[in-house]
């Protein structure tokens, strides 16, 4: 693990060719990297990052089949603990609840489990009476603390309350490519990322169905795999095969395309997902480089 101070950081992120003038409008600046846990064991193909209260940063260290928990202090990423759980053998995604518990999506089981930040397993997050093959592709936590599951088998987004009771349900449209991730903003608007159809779908807070955004994803997005919404109406897409983060504003216009495929700090190789800490930092699960990178978000 290492931290990189803002003042000492001179590496400027390359703006990918073709991003245009708008790409200059929004920048990510690398400020830190996590390479290992507290014992020096290297991260291996991490695919999930989750930002939580009090600087908590959880990492799904997928290749090692475990979760590593860090604390972010003054842009230093300090390892706290790590754990592997038989109930969640292959963590793909991780999110942090407001009270500090972690939600982890497991690749082998394709369902979400809740654990404490110390690694105590609390149970699976799924509607009661679930039958058939589990197929949760992604999930997010909304502003009320409800968990939004991207249930690709059921072709729906299903919200579950803290008590596990099903709430709002949003059906997938008939005509779409494949939804690889979802985001929920502070107002309850749901965004579905159709990486195959290269399009975003949205549902307002009271909608039961999603509708496609008029504009396709910007040219140059190779294979968008993950999406995150900030508190200001902006969307952050992870372009997995392009090694970049693409920033869109509320109407879908591109505010920037940042980073590029590469090995050096500040560059990304097959990034899997991101999280925002709400304080101006963005963390990337830089899967192909076996590390997690932190960037400051700004113009």
């Amino acid at each position: 693990m290492s931290g990189i101070g803002r003042s000492g950081m001179v590496l400027a992120l390359a703006v990918a060719a073709g991003a245009g003038i708008a790409a200059e409008a929004f920048r990510l600046r690398p400020v830190g990297v996590a390479y290992a846990d507290g014992k020096g064991t290297a991260l291996r193909a991490p695919e999930g990052v989750g930002c939580g209260p009090d600087g908590l940063l959880a990492v799904a260290d997928t290749g090692n089949g475990r979760v590593v928990v860090y604390e972010v202090r003054d842009e230093e990423i300090v390892p706290r603990t790590d754990f592997a759980l038989p109930e969640l053998p292959y963590p793909l995604r991780v999110r942090v609840e407001s009270k500090g518990d972690l939600l982890v999506l497991d690749g082998r089981l394709r369902k979400v489990g809740r654990v404490s930040a110390r690694g105590e397993f609390r149970g699976y997050v799924e509607p009661a009476g679930t039958q058939g093959i589990a197929a949760t592709r992604g999930f997010k936590i909304d502003g009320r603390g409800d968990v939004a599951l991207l249930d690709v088998a059921g072709a729906r987004v299903l919200f579950l309350g803290a008590d596990g009771r099903p709430g709002r349900e949003i059906r997938f449209p008939d005509a779409c490519g494949f939804f690889s991730d979802l985001a929920v903003d502070g107002k309850g608007t749901v965004f579905l990322l159709d990486g195959v159809g290269r399009r975003l779908f949205t549902a307002g807070p009271d909608d039961k169905a999603v509708r496609p955004r008029p504009a396709a994803l910007p040219d140059g997005v190779d294979f968008a795999s993950s999406i995150e919404a900030d508190g200001a109406g902006r969307l952050f897409l992870v372009d997995q095969n392009g090694g970049a983060i693409v920033i869109l504003d509320a109407d879908g216009s591109m505010l920037g395309r940042q980073s590029m495929m590469g090995w050096r700090e500040g560059q990304l190789r097959y990034p899997a997902s991101i999280c925002l800490d709400g304080k101006g930092l963005l963390f990337v699960a830089d899967r192909g480089n076996n590390r997690v990178q932190a960037f400051s978000v700004g113009r």
């Binding site: 390479y35 290297a42 053998p89 072709a155 997938f172 490519g177 294979f223 392009g242 050096r264 590390r291």
Partner: protein
């Protein structure tokens, strides 16, 4: 020109009025719109003698398509070729067309038509199916080798297809299926019902089981039928023909297929990483046909096309690549990737080094350290491996290198050697 004269001009044909006015304005010699052209282009005498002559050519109106003095387009065409043709033939593509012939969309009218004249109707370059099969050779080969040919095929492609576009159906079909099929095949006959085991398939997609051009399987079924269909045990997946909804499936998505294919699916579901479409609402049908297919394994298309339908960036990267990686170029995605599930990132069939080594001789790289003892100087968490220098789906450089190997590749790590 007053209003009455304008209306009269429109009623009589404005172009003719305008043309006469132009002739006068430019003081054109008689025949200057075309007949004069023949004084130099004498070879057109032979063209004009062909059985099918384009109307403006026949009328001697060369300047309908060509600019007599200079042009921004080849052959002194007055506009881009597709625009020249569509100025008169705009109706060949109906508004909101469901399918458009690619060459029409590209404006390459001359791929099928001679713009001046030919020996075939509509100035076609060849007669009947010969023209179509010049590009659609795979279809021609399938027809040629089929033991059982669909009768309309002998009447030519236009028996079922519109050559330019279809306003109502995919594949340029004149009508959507089954409407097109039932125009000939009566679905109310006992023989039809018996052949379909009593299932009410009159409104179903005939192409789900039958090859519309022909096949070597009786009933012109597609070459690779699903075992329950070939064995006439439709009730393996559907309720009986007398059920309230006989064409519904007994279960949805992968749950249905798992009844018989539990070996494949249980194995897939036990792996760390699933290919997500396997478990979505369409499940296996994202890639496989339920009844019969032209491609082995009941695949909905050739593997490269099938995978490339979703993973377009991988296909595009290969297309732009200076060097082609043979498995990618041949569409053999399964040579490196698991189609259903796996334990490796990118659903690779094996860890990267092992996978590449199966085809590539490691000894040729023996001069460069690789593996656990060679840490990538750019990232302390990475060992030097094939992916450190190469990208399997393509790059702009030789040897599928991430950077120009003559100038930029080595110094990515060996910075001290930069000049």
């Amino acid at each position: 020109m007053d209003r009455a004269l304008l209306l009269l001009a429109l009623a009589l044909g404005w172009p003719a009025v305008g043309r006469a006015a132009d002739d006068e304005a430019y003081r054109l010699k008689p025949g200057a719109k075309g007949r004069v052209c023949l004084t130099c282009h004498s070879e057109f005498a032979e063209v004009l003698g062909r059985p099918s002559v384009h109307t403006p050519v026949k009328a001697g109106d060369c300047s309908d398509c060509h600019d007599p003095h200079a042009a921004d387009h080849a052959d002194l065409l007055a506009d881009a070729p597709e625009k020249v043709c569509l100025a008169c033939h705009g109706g060949v593509v109906p508004a909101g067309a469901k399918s458009v012939h690619r060459v029409v969309g590209e404006g390459a009218c001359a791929r099928c038509h001679d713009p001046h004249a030919s020996g075939h109707p509509n100035q076609l370059l060849k007669a009947g199916a010969d023209l179509c099969l010049g590009c659609h050779g795979d279809v021609g080969k399938a027809i040629e080798t089929a033991r059982f040919r669909h009768a309309p095929v002998s009447r030519g492609c236009l028996a079922c297809h519109d050559p330019h576009a279809s306003g109502t159906a995919p594949f340029l079909l004149k009508k959507s299926v089954p409407g097109l099929c039932v125009a000939c095949h009566r679905t109310d006959l006992p023989a039809f019902t018996a052949a379909h085991l009593g299932y009410p398939v009159g409104k179903s997609n005939c192409g789900s089981c039958h090859d519309p051009h022909g096949s070597s399987v009786p009933g012109i079924l597609r070459a690779n039928p699903h075992a329950p269909m070939a064995g006439e045990t439709c009730d393996a997946c559907h309720p009986g023909p007398d059920a309230a909804a006989p064409l519904a499936t007994k279960r949805q998505g992968v749950d249905l297929c798992r009844d018989c294919h539990s070996d494949v699916l249980d194995e897939a579901l036990s792996r760390n990483r699933i290919h997500w479409p396997v478990v979505d609402r369409r499940g296996c049908l994202n890639c496989h046909e339920p009844h019969a297919a032209r491609v082995a394994g009941l695949l909905s298309g050739a593997p490269g096309d099938l995978c490339g339908g979703c993973h377009r960036d991988a296909v595009e990267r290969q297309a732009k690549s200076r060097v082609k990686h043979p498995p990618v170029q041949k569409g053999e995605c399964g040579a490196c990737h698991e189609p259903h599930a796996g334990n490796e990132v990118h659903l690779l069939t094996k860890p990267e080094g092992e996978l590449c080594g199966a085809c590539h001789d490691w000894a040729r790289h023996s001069a460069h350290p690789m593996g656990a003892k060679a840490i990538d100087p750019r990232d302390r968490n990475l060992e030097v491996g094939c992916g450190s220098c190469h990208r399997s789906h393509g790059t702009p450089f030789k040897a599928l290198s991430h950077f120009d190997p003559d100038r930029e590749l080595c110094v990515q790590c060996h910075e001290g050697l930069k000049r």
